[in-house]
């Protein structure tokens, strides 16, 4: 440090250099992403391999997560056609949940979704799926007509409202979907980093400030558990909104 004083963490702390080699694919977030895929598939393959009528503990854990997504999100929101979309919703839920929870697991301590590229690519996928479903069910013309021209308002108001509806469906909804996940993970990681680095800095200063260092570290630990709640909630909300969008695409009129 060239000048004395506390340097707060910023967005520069989210840029990683490659761990080995020179490729951009060898940075920490990408490796965590690959690790999460291996972890999820191993867990669910092992937990469903010896499926029995009387489930073991592992099988029970796997089945309760699956049942939560299928009944709690799929069946309640989408309705009678939900069975087609359960694998999609389940993949999104477990993927986001695992990647978020990496943020508080010691030694990893980086939520992959706090890099905007990952939520955006999931959102592009979701975007293609729900528009494809709607266009396949209603046809392109009827879908756009239903979207932009809702019945029951005077004709001149369509000039104001039709572009608004169009923009909402095609730009703002996917944008907010990606930004919500990214923003929560980014801000949460920054908050944890601030308290940890602050405690570390106070530990190296005058003796009476060391008490505040203990407060800062204990706040960091407490906020880690708070973050765990937020991470689970964000994975749930993302999946719920995907299900709501698919349900809206399947509905006869919204």
């Amino acid at each position: 440090m060239s000048q004395p004083g506390f340097e707060p963490p910023g967005s520069g702390d989210f840029v990683f250099t490659p761990i080995f080699g020179n490729s951009i694919l060898a940075t920490k977030p990408v490796l965590l992403l690959f690790f999460s895929v291996i972890l999820i598939s191993t867990f669910f393959i092992i937990s469903s391999r010896k499926a029995a009528v009387v489930p073991s503990k592992l099988q029970f854990a796997g089945e309760s997560i699956y049942g939560f997504v299928r009944d709690g999100i799929g069946k309640d929101v989408i309705g009678h056609e939900f069975q087609r979309f359960v694998p999609f919703l389940f993949t999104i839920f477990t993927f986001i949940l695992t990647n978020n929870l990496f943020g508080i697991i010691p030694l990893m301590q980086f939520p992959t979704m706090s890099h905007i590229g990952f939520p955006v690519s999931i959102t592009i996928f979701v975007y293609l799926v729900y528009h494809y479903v709607a266009i396949k069910k209603h046809g392109l013309g009827k879908y756009l007509k239903d979207m932009c021209f809702m019945p029951g308002i005077p004709k001149p108001m369509y000039v104001l409202l039709a572009p608004l509806e169009f923009l909402t469906y095609f730009a703002i909804r996917p944008l907010t979907l990606a930004m919500r996940l990214f923003g929560n993970m980014f801000a949460g990681h920054l908050l944890l980093m601030l308290f940890t680095l602050g405690g570390e800095y106070l530990l190296g200063s005058a003796w009476f400030l060391k008490i505040f260092s203990a407060i800062s570290f204990s706040l960091a630990i407490g906020l880690s558990f708070f973050e765990m709640g937020i991470q689970c909630l964000q994975a749930y909300i993302f999946t719920l909104l995907v299900a709501l969008y698919i349900a809206g695409a399947l509905a006869d009129e919204h």
Partner: protein, 64 residues
Amino acid sequence: MSSSEESAFWTILSYLIAGLILWCGIGLLVDHFLKTNFFVLIGMAIGLGSSLYLIWVRFIRIER
């Protein structure tokens, strides 16, 4: 809260953002080409009004 309220919640937020972004963008463009500086405020008012009207039509009037 049930999922219908959750859906309405985020849809209201999306409408507000969409209205303001659309009409403020148009206002900024008009300002840029005409070298004025008040069209962005008019755009803001139109955007807010139209998105609130859309929310009123969609979530408040119909359910009565």
